[in-house]
């Protein structure tokens, strides 16, 4: 069981690292948001599930499951709020972006 937990934690850390490289590397606010939020959410949930596999059904393990539920509920909501706020406050898209559906909907 410990080996499976280590594999979960290592996969989660790889997702975290790739998400943060995307946060540095991509050219636009919306691209950075889209890359980093999904990757880091899934990676941290995988780390917490690894902690649950380590501890089993004791108090820290069940708290880890609760923390997974919290993160899955709150991270997309905050990402959507940031994207909406950035678009309303006038942050421009990248030059090579193809379409902007929200701008079309606002007209």
């Amino acid at each position: 069981m410990e080996i499976i937990a280590y594999i979960f934690i290592a996969v989660g850390l790889m997702f975290d690292l790739f998400g943060c490289i995307g946060l540095v590397r991509l050219p636009d606010v919306y691209n950075r948001l889209q890359a980093s939020t999904k990757c880091v959410t899934l990676g941290t949930c995988s780390i917490l599930f690894g902690l649950f596999l380590f501890r089993g059904f004791t108090a820290p393990g069940i708290k880890a499951l609760l923390c997974i539920v919290f993160i899955i509920l709150t991270a997309p909501v905050s990402a959507h709020a940031i994207a909406r706020g950035a678009h309303i406050s006038g942050v421009r898209l990248w030059d090579k972006s193809v379409c902007d559906k929200y701008e079309e909907d606002k007209r």
């Binding site: 975290d16 590397r25 980093s36 940031i82």
Partner: protein
């Protein structure tokens, strides 16, 4: 040429940091159960370093808010990784409280950004 040079430089920096993480030897720093957990910890520190770079050099305030949000989720991962080798059960409590508080802070910053309307 300039873009290519910057790309290669960033890739070299990332490869050098990962090699330092893998071969850095202090096994008896905090009485860890195994060395691999310590390497996990250093990889999370590398992620936080990238987030701090984006906070320092974000062109717009929205970039900084995104980086703060990601940093708040990464701290929960820090608490989970710290909870394994030390055997203390209260690190994950800090993680839960930090997740909720980071969510509220990010929502407040996003509402502030929405009402500001700066011209760029």
């Amino acid at each position: 040429m300039n873009r290519r040079f910057r790309w290669v430089l960033g890739l070299l920096i990332i490869i050098a940091l990962i090699i330092v993480i893998i071969f850095y030897p202090p096994a008896s720093l905090l009485e860890w159960q195994s060395i691999s957990l310590m390497r996990f910890f250093f990889i999370l520190m590398l992620c936080c370093l990238f987030c701090l770079y984006r906070i320092l050099r974000g062109p717009t305030p929205a970039d900084r808010i995104v980086a703060i949000d990601i940093l708040g989720i990464l701290v929960v991962g820090f608490c989970a990784v710290l909870g394994i080798p030390t055997g203390r059960p209260w690190y994950i409590d800090i993680g839960i409280a930090w997740a909720l508080q980071s969510f509220i802070g990010t929502i407040a910053l996003a509402k502030y950004l929405e009402g500001k309307g700066f011209e760029e």
